[in-house]
């Protein structure tokens, strides 16, 4: 048992790694530009300043890097020359998609382009030289340090120096009408710049392997993840983990309340239905449970909201929110009462969904056990029916429904998007909903990863609890 537990716990880590890779790749390859809603856009009509701010935004969130495998260091001269020509070609000469693609590549590839662009700088065609210099001014830009954990003052100092260097090389471009002397002077500046640090243009095979695997969006994300840094939101630039944790209490209180109530109702209902198997009472219960099972929770929620809130037939409850928002000072008891009053409808909605599944499991569990020999023995030795059912049958009959608790863990903590959106409860589900609508990648990743961890733990918990309560199951 201990060995099994240890093995299972250790297995969580590679599984989590694969899950994060899967989610990351899926979210990143989904068509649609990451961060399109934030950071100043960067469309074709965007001005110079917006282009620049979108570039910095992309850099900050590593969106200029490939998703999981970086083979950009294999780019050769011919490709780079083709891209440079595609971007500077006359309108109509190149399909727009090819032009945009070439431009994005030249903007994103960075240092790996520099050696090829330096070759193009020596090209016979002066227009090509000019384009090469312009792209060198982009590709040669050094990245700012985005580390929010280290020494902030030193980082700011370093960033200031980087900004100055970047500003300087931006000046080494020229217009088509520039005199030959200016062109020659600027080309000389580039040559000197390249000669000053030859090592930044050469990569050893080991460095190339490292670049392929580690200079990617996913690797950068995981480096931070290992330090429990989920990044900052691209909406409000606050750490997404803090926001997430602050949302968790709402979802947790709603979920726990609903699941506890669902168990309290479902278990007796299931036992009742099982004991009276085949009678009209059982039929009525089964039909009722079946109806609940097929009712979508958003329908239940909407109907409840329509019936029981202000301005409607039975104005008993508020239309949403977790508590009264603009209330004056309240005592703890008053506040709890206020929250309970707000939570009645969401909890009822939540419970109807969980109740159906749980009572089905409870009924099946008890029915399976009630025909067992040991129950007949218990009856034969004269035990009263309640004792037989509640003491003997229940213990084994409840095994499936107990282990179900583990699989409920993710919904318990992460909440339900639908219910939280309908009742405007600021929990994790609604947080996710808002984040996906604002294209806040880091926040979405954080919610998805957090609930993956919860389901990993939930599955582990349910396997272990199964082994704990049922001695027939041996895990070793």
């Amino acid at each position: 048992m201990l060995q099994y537990t240890i093995r299972r716990v250790l297995l969580i880590f590679p599984t989590f790694f694969l899950i994060s890779l899967l989610i990351f790749v899926v979210l990143n390859v989904a068509p649609g530009r990451p961060g399109a809603g934030a950071g100043g856009g960067g469309g074709e009509q965007a001005g110079q300043a917006e282009q620049e701010s979108y570039r910095i935004f992309k850099e900050q969130f590593n969106l200029d890097k490939p998703i999981a495998l970086n083979l950009r260091h294999l780019t050769d001269l011919a490709e780079v020359a083709a891209w440079v020509d595609a971007v500077r070609a006359a309108p109509g000469a190149v399909p727009p998609a090819a032009r945009i693609d070439a431009q994005e590549r030249l903007e994103d590839y960075g240092l790996v382009l520099v050696p090829h662009l330096l070759v193009l700088l020596e090209d016979a065609d002066p227009e090509r030289q000019r384009a090469a210099a312009a792209w060198l001014a982009v590709a040669g830009q050094q990245r700012f340090q985005n580390d929010r954990r280290g020494d902030v003052v030193a980082a700011r100092e370093a960033n200031r120096a980087i900004a100055a260097a970047n500003q300087e090389i931006k000046g080494w471009t020229w217009t088509a009408a520039a005199p030959a002397a200016e062109v020659e002077q600027k080309r000389a500046a580039w040559r000197a710049w390249a000669a000053a640090a030859p090592d930044r243009l050469e990569w050893t095979p080991a460095e190339r392997v490292e670049m392929s695997l580690l200079d990617t969006r996913f690797a950068k994300y995981w480096q931070n993840l290992l330090l429990l840094d989920f990044g900052v939101s691209n909406i409000d630039r606050r750490p997404v983990l803090d926001t997430l944790l602050s949302k968790m209490k709402y979802s947790l209180s709603l979920g726990t309340l609903a699941v506890v109530i669902a168990y309290i109702v479902a278990v007796p209902l299931g036992i009742f239905s099982a004991v009276k198997q085949g009678t009209t009472a059982d039929l009525v219960t089964t039909i009722g449970v079946f109806v609940l099972y097929s009712l979508p929770s958003f329908f239940v929620g909407t109907v409840l909201l329509r019936i029981f809130t202000e301005g409607d037939p039975l104005a008993l409850f508020p239309t949403g929110d977790f508590e009264t928002l603009s209330a004056g000072p309240m005592t703890t008891a008053e506040r709890l009462g206020d929250i309970a009053w707000h939570l009645v409808l969401p909890v009822v909605t939540y419970t109807t969904g969980a109740l159906a599944t749980l009572s089905r499991y409870a009924r099946t569990g008890v029915i399976d056990v009630i025909r067992a020999d040991y129950i007949r023995t218990a009856r034969a030795k004269g035990l009263s029916e309640p004792v037989v059912i509640l003491k003997h049958a229940l213990r084994n009959g409840m095994i499936p429904i107990l282990t179900l608790l583990g699989s409920l863990l993710p919904t318990l903590v992460a909440g339900s998007t639908v219910i939280e959106v309908i009742f405007n409860i600021p929990g994790m589900g609604q947080h996710l909903y808002n984040a996906i609508n604002l294209r806040d990648y880091n926040a979405v990743m954080a919610v998805l990863l957090a609930s993956s961890v919860l389901s990993l733990l939930g599955i582990l918990l349910s396997d272990l609890s199964y082994a704990l309560v049922d001695p027939r199951i041996s895990l070793d």
Binding site: T15, A30, G32, F299, L305, V418, I436, L448
Partner: protein
């Protein structure tokens, strides 16, 4: 020499499929639910016959008799959605070939088993061929577009004193174009369930919504059943390293919070259509059939009939797909039926949250409109439509599950 006496016909053992079919037929509720589903399918197919703003028959004065409705069925401008064009083609095929095909299907029952299977397979292929042909003709044919707004045209002509013959479907409204001055109408004779905020008839949209829901359910489930079956079969049959890799993959996908992932991916897709939605649903749901099929393969792969097939020298793909796979059909069929129900629920949840295809009349989207306007008809009508569809599917699924369970045989 006398002719040898004709042998009395030998009663065939019922095949496994027959057995299940008989068992299923004995469950009255499930059988009723299956008929209900059939009705729903017919409703989806014949939706334009019930509701369209194009007249079935149209004649101005003594002019030629025409049917703008028939032309509109193939109008890629009016039925801009692929789903509707598919169902319209289905409408044509079912109307023309449905009865003869059903008759031929029943008649095949009198044939011996081998011939019966072949006959029915030919019928099925022929049906699919006819459908594809109709779709192809539709795509190739030049577009005839009845552009006129017929009710308005009729009123105008009649005001001029020109006699007009116009026969409309029972609900002469479009599912797509609303009449703005009739927005938010209460239920009336013209609009049995009222209209929505854009002036579109709620009942008409409800009927056309059946097309969307059924398509999503059936196609998403077929897609993921195919993926899951192949992966599960490979894992179960080959075992070892293949099994390990596929098992890991299943484990990873199971742990991903599926609804959260579906919502996120859907939100990040620009111009999402219901085809995107089907693919997304399939991408997270294939693990259930994969696990089922894997377990069945593990059970079957060491049985005698497989050893015999190997000894005869059957190629591996024949053993996997023709010998073992049919044995796994029962559980897969049951899980597919429940799968359709849950795919429909997932789609309506997505549309309810505004993350579905906003160009189609989806039930979830209608309910969302009802939530924001708190219009009773807009809440109850789509809600009940979802509830009824999901219930029917769950009842049929329960029926299949009981029918294949030998312990519950009646």
């Amino acid at each position: 020499m006398t002719e040898p006496a004709a042998r009395p016909p030998v009663a065939e053992d019922p095949s496994w499929v027959d057995l299940i079919w008989v068992q299923f037929g004995k469950r009255k509720i499930a059988r009723g639910a299956l008929f209900g589903l059939l009705g729903l399918l017919l409703l989806a197919i014949y939706a334009p016959l019930l509701a369209s703003n194009k007249p079935l028959l149209w004649r101005v004065a003594d002019g030629p008799l025409s049917s703008p409705w028939l032309l509109s069925l193939f109008d890629r401008n009016f039925f801009e959605n692929g789903v509707d064009l598919f169902f319209n083609a289905l409408l044509v095929c079912v109307s023309l070939l449905g009865l003869p095909a059903a008759w031929a299907w029943r008649r095949a029952a009198t044939l011996p088993r081998a011939a019966r299977g072949a006959r029915r397979a030919r019928l099925l292929l022929g049906g699919i061929g006819a459908l594809l042909l109709t779709l192809g003709l539709n795509a190739a044919a030049p577009q005839a577009r009845p552009k006129e707004v017929y009710p308005a045209l009729q009123a105008q002509l009649e005001a001029q004193g020109t006699p007009v013959l116009a026969v409309y479907p029972p609900l002469p409204h479009s599912f797509r174009d609303g009449v703005l001055d009739q927005a938010r109408a209460r239920p009336s004779a013209a609009h049995p369930l009222g209209t929505d905020a854009a002036g579109r008839d709620v009942l008409v949209r409800l009927i056309f919504g059946a097309r969307i829901s059924l398509t999503i359910g059936v196609f998403a489930v077929s897609l993921y059943i195919s993926i899951g079956t192949v992966l599960g079969a490979l894992a179960g049959y080959f075992g070892g390293r293949v099994d390990l890799v596929i098992q890991r993959l299943i484990e990873v996908v199971i742990c991903v919070p599926s609804l959260f992932l579906i919502l996120s991916v859907a939100a990040f897709i620009e111009d999402r259509s219901i085809f995107h939605i089907m693919v997304i649903i399939a991408a997270v749901a294939w693990t259930t059939p994969a696990r089922l099929v894997r377990a069945e393969f593990l059970r079957h792969r060491n049985l005698d009939f497989v050893a015999a097939a190997r000894a005869i020298g059957y190629p591996q793909h024949t053993i996997i797909f023709a010998e073992i796979l049919p044995n796994t059909l029962g559980p897969v069929l049951v899980s597919a039926t429940f799968g359709v129900a849950s795919a429909i629920l997932t789609e309506s949840t997505m549309s309810f949250l505004g993350l579905g295809d906003i160009t189609v009349p989806s039930w979830g989207q209608m309910l969302n409109a009802g939530r924001t306007t708190s219009e009773w008809t807009l809440i109850l009508a789509p809600g009940f439509a979802i509830f009824v569809t999901v219930s029917l599917l769950n009842l049929v699924g329960d029926g299949f599950r009981d029918a294949i369970d030998p312990k519950l045989r009646r």
